[in-house]
Amino acid sequence: MKILGQKSLGTFLEKMCWFLLAAGAAVIAGLPWLLGFYYNLKQEDYGRPVILFTLAVLYISGAIALAILVQLRLILRDVNCGSPFTMKNARRIKTVAWLCMPIALLYIAGIFTIPSALVILIALVFLFLAALTFVLAEVFRQAVLYKEENDLTI
């Protein structure tokens, strides 16, 4: 299976990002109805403050997730064009790391308010992702420096 280049897994993922962006935007737009449907299914009434707080968390984390997808799509575009190791991509990975932080903090705040066990899981996952992505961003940045040094070694 071809991983990078034309007609590869990388190209497929880049196209998937467009689909996920559109789907994500549609989900964010329909959040009030989706949340109402979910609460009807559970047959629970948590009160207006909880519902509003949950909506706010979902809207903000949804918007940030879309921003992460945009960065990932740009990274995949450069990777598929044959120039993955650039400072721009290193900065994009660091941006993704920074974007994971507010999502983690939002869901940590939601532990005390949103009545769902998934909240703490999402908070922990995004905390871990943020830390890991910071490390990856630094590794990538050093790889770019090595590449630049190698490019100017004749």
Partner: protein, 86 residues
């Protein structure tokens, strides 16, 4: 960069063009240009060996070291001259 690559001088002495040199050495024209314009950060021994072989010269004919002038307006003489006592 204190290391100066004197490729142009040797190429003129041996009357060899950049295209011919790059083909015989086995590097691209772009890399040869980087070397000639002192933009290279490092040179592999294999490349240096190929250049010396094609140009029939020694590495010292191609590479010279020029000390960079010290920075700052208060920089004194750099020839290691002795300070005068007043």
């Amino acid at each position: 960069m204190p290391i100066i690559v004197n490729l142009d001088i040797m190429m003129a002495k041996r009357r060899i063009s950049a295209t011919e040199l790059s083909e015989k050495v086995g590097i691209t024209m772009a890399n040869l240009s980087i070397l000639k314009n002192n933009k290279a950060r490092a040179v592999r021994f294999s490349t240096l060996e190929a250049l010396c072989r094609v140009l029939n010269c020694q590495p010292a004919d191609l590479l010279t070291y020029e000390k960079e002038p010290p920075e700052g307006p208060a920089a004194g003489p750099t020839d290691g001259g002795e300070k005068e006592d007043h």
